[in-house]
């Protein structure tokens, strides 16, 4: 395989890992606080639609991003009301949110745009453009030399290729997602808020005894989860693709959930897991079937691999994944 091909696959790995990573960190905040969230998928989908819809109407992608975050937050609050205030089953609430998003997005899209449940395609201004770094090979060089970017890229030296293809040229949200990893680590493990948030997921009664509001902390965690899911959804519809199409999240929320378990609820490992699953997607996207020494690996095996790996990890044969202890249980104050 050519060096440039590998770089290109890694480049698309980063693009594909970004929504997974954002959703995975979203789930990390929520589950560390003891609120299971299988509604990541639904929140992303809702955010994807509203960001694309608002960006299409206003032509401003930042307004789109805000709308996407707001839509995702609304579902987060719903999840919070059901699972924190009314102490309902968090898993059932998540299932309901996924269906709500899946139905409402198409319903509203059809009502607003009448294009069979999609938004109009987004053009420049309505999309997050790639951010070209200085000295990177980009359209400006292509215009100056009169040669296509792909040609210039192929002729450049390896370091320049890595710099131009892999590091430069992503949308701002990609860089945000990767910066969110150390930020998440810092918040969770180096601040008072983070300590309390983790405590509330392990032993809420202790947090309550210390005079800190369990309900408040859990709502805060659920809202951060909504914020990050909103950015993930907006990235899907306004950066990775140009507009919303029906069911465009395509199970990414569940892959993020799988990555979260794979990473055993730790931020840096979450990044590793998301990059791995992103790589699998990138490979499946580029090659149909992979020949490996006479053995053909079908593309479906690549699709299933994240889920199989997660089951193996959950089974505990290779390093057991133990979720936060109070996860999934509503907190009832002692009287």
């Amino acid at each position: 395989m050519e060096f440039l091909t590998i770089i290109q696959i890694l480049d698309s790995t980063i693009r594909l890992a970004t929504p997974l990573l954002l959703a995975c960190l979203a789930g990390l905040f929520s589950e560390r606080a003891g609120i299971f969230d299988i509604g990541l998928e639904g929140k992303m989908l809702m955010a994807a639609f509203f960001s694309a819809a608002v960006a299409a109407v206003t032509g401003n992608v930042w307004l789109g991003l805000l709308a996407g975050i707001a839509a995702s937050l609304v579902l987060s609050v719903l999840h919070g009301v059901a699972s924190i205030t009314f102490r309902g089953n968090q898993l059932i609430s998540g299932v309901a949110i996924n269906f709500l998003a899946s139905g409402l997005t198409v319903l509203i899209a059809q009502d607003w745009f009448k294009q069979g449940g999609r938004t109009p395609s987004l053009f420049s201004g309505g999309r997050f453009e790639g951010w070209e770094w200085p000295f990177a090979i980009g359209p400006a060089d292509a215009a100056a030399t009169g040669q296509p970017v792909s040609r210039l890229m192929a002729e450049a030296n390896p370091v320049h290729q890595v710099y131009s293809e892999l590091l430069s040229g992503h949308s701002i949200l990609v860089y945000f997602a990767f910066l969110a990893v150390p930020a998440t680590w810092w918040i969770l493990f180096r601040t008072r808020f983070g300590l309390r948030l983790r405590a509330v997921g392990e032993n809420p009664a202790a947090v309550d005894t210390a005079g800190v509001s369990v309900v408040g902390l859990r709502y805060a965690a659920v809202l951060i989860c909504g914020l990050l899911c909103g950015i993930a959804g907006a990235y899907l519809a306004t950066a990775l693709q140009a507009g919303f199409v029906k069911e465009m999240t395509a199970g990414r929320g569940f892959i993020a959930l799988a990555a979260l378990i794979f990473a055993k609820w730790r931020p840096w490992h979450a990044m590793g897991a998301c990059l791995l699953f992103g790589l699998l997607q990138a490979i499946a996207l580029r090659f149909q079937n992979i020949e490996l020494g006479g053995l053909t690996i079908p593309v479906q095996a690549m699709d299933a691999l994240p889920y199989v790996l997660t089951v193996v990890i959950l089974a505990g044969f290779v390093g057991k994944a133990i979720p936060p202890r109070a996860g999934g249980q509503p907190y009832v104050k002692e009287r």
Partner: protein, 364 residues
Amino acid sequence: MEKMPKWADVVLIPLISLLLAAALSALVILAIGEDPVAAVKLMVDGALGSTYGWGYTLYYATNFMFTGLAVAVAAHAGLFNIGGEGQAMLGGLGVALVCLFIPWPHWSLALIFAALGAGLFGAAWAAIPAYLQAKRGSHIVITTIMFNFIAAAVLNYMLVNVLRPKGSQDPASARFPETVHLPSLHEMLAPLGIEFSKSGPANVSLLVALAACVVIWLLIWRTPLGYEIRSLGKSEPAARYAGISSVRIVMIAMLISGALAGMMAINNVMGEAERLVLNSTEGAGFIGIAVALMGRNHPFGVFLAAILFGFLYQGGAELALWTSIPRELIVVIQALVILFTGALDDMVRMPLEKIFIAVRKGQN
């Protein structure tokens, strides 16, 4: 002291939840700029107004009875089987293998073995998550979700690389032979002199689904095994203290649950499509969750809820055909039903309990 009478718990709360879901759905229809009353009328006409409509309503209801029972049996053991969709996909594979590779002399024989094959494949797909839950404590909700996706990949592989006839572009199996054609309601009712539409896909599997409701009722409330399942679901420590093996019960409950979800395939794969196609389940595995919640995990409740959702599905298709309301409205209604009957149960229950207690105090 009971906070409220049993009828309120069993009938009133689901009914209020349903009304809340319906009211919100009506608001959604209004927001789209359509008339909710006209929409309901159209749905009732389309789904229940003709034997054609009933043919579809009962066809969908048959699917939902199987998947609803699957969720209900697992729920009695305290397990949330969200993997009905994957188990039903694998059940479809079982049916396809039985129907394609064995020359059956008569449909009745084929049906028995197809149901067995479907049940076996569905149960097998539930077995691994069940084992992991029972022995290794891996959360069954997550593992069954993962198995849904793995099932989709397996089915995709089987259809594209193995079962697809030569020269065909369509990722689907060959058509099943004529001999395994299941009699539709039209063909069953014609000898009795009852006129029923030819085009509705409802078929003899409906009777199998009804029988399954009765069998599951007997199992849960009239057998020692059912007692053990319910004990485990109510309190694991108490069940263990009573000498009930939780590993055994988790395995058995999930195998039954998976088999029921898998058996849905005799209706949609063998009865309707008569070949295996991609996405043959059309989300019925997930609707089972709403059906079981709505039906309070009781087979009779599941039966009623399945008819209700069958009506919603057929009615929704009619709406999409005649108005600007897309079919996805049904997904929204389904979400609201799950939300109100499942997650927001306390929101309905707590005020109601207060009312009952207040009324009782007033009487004393």
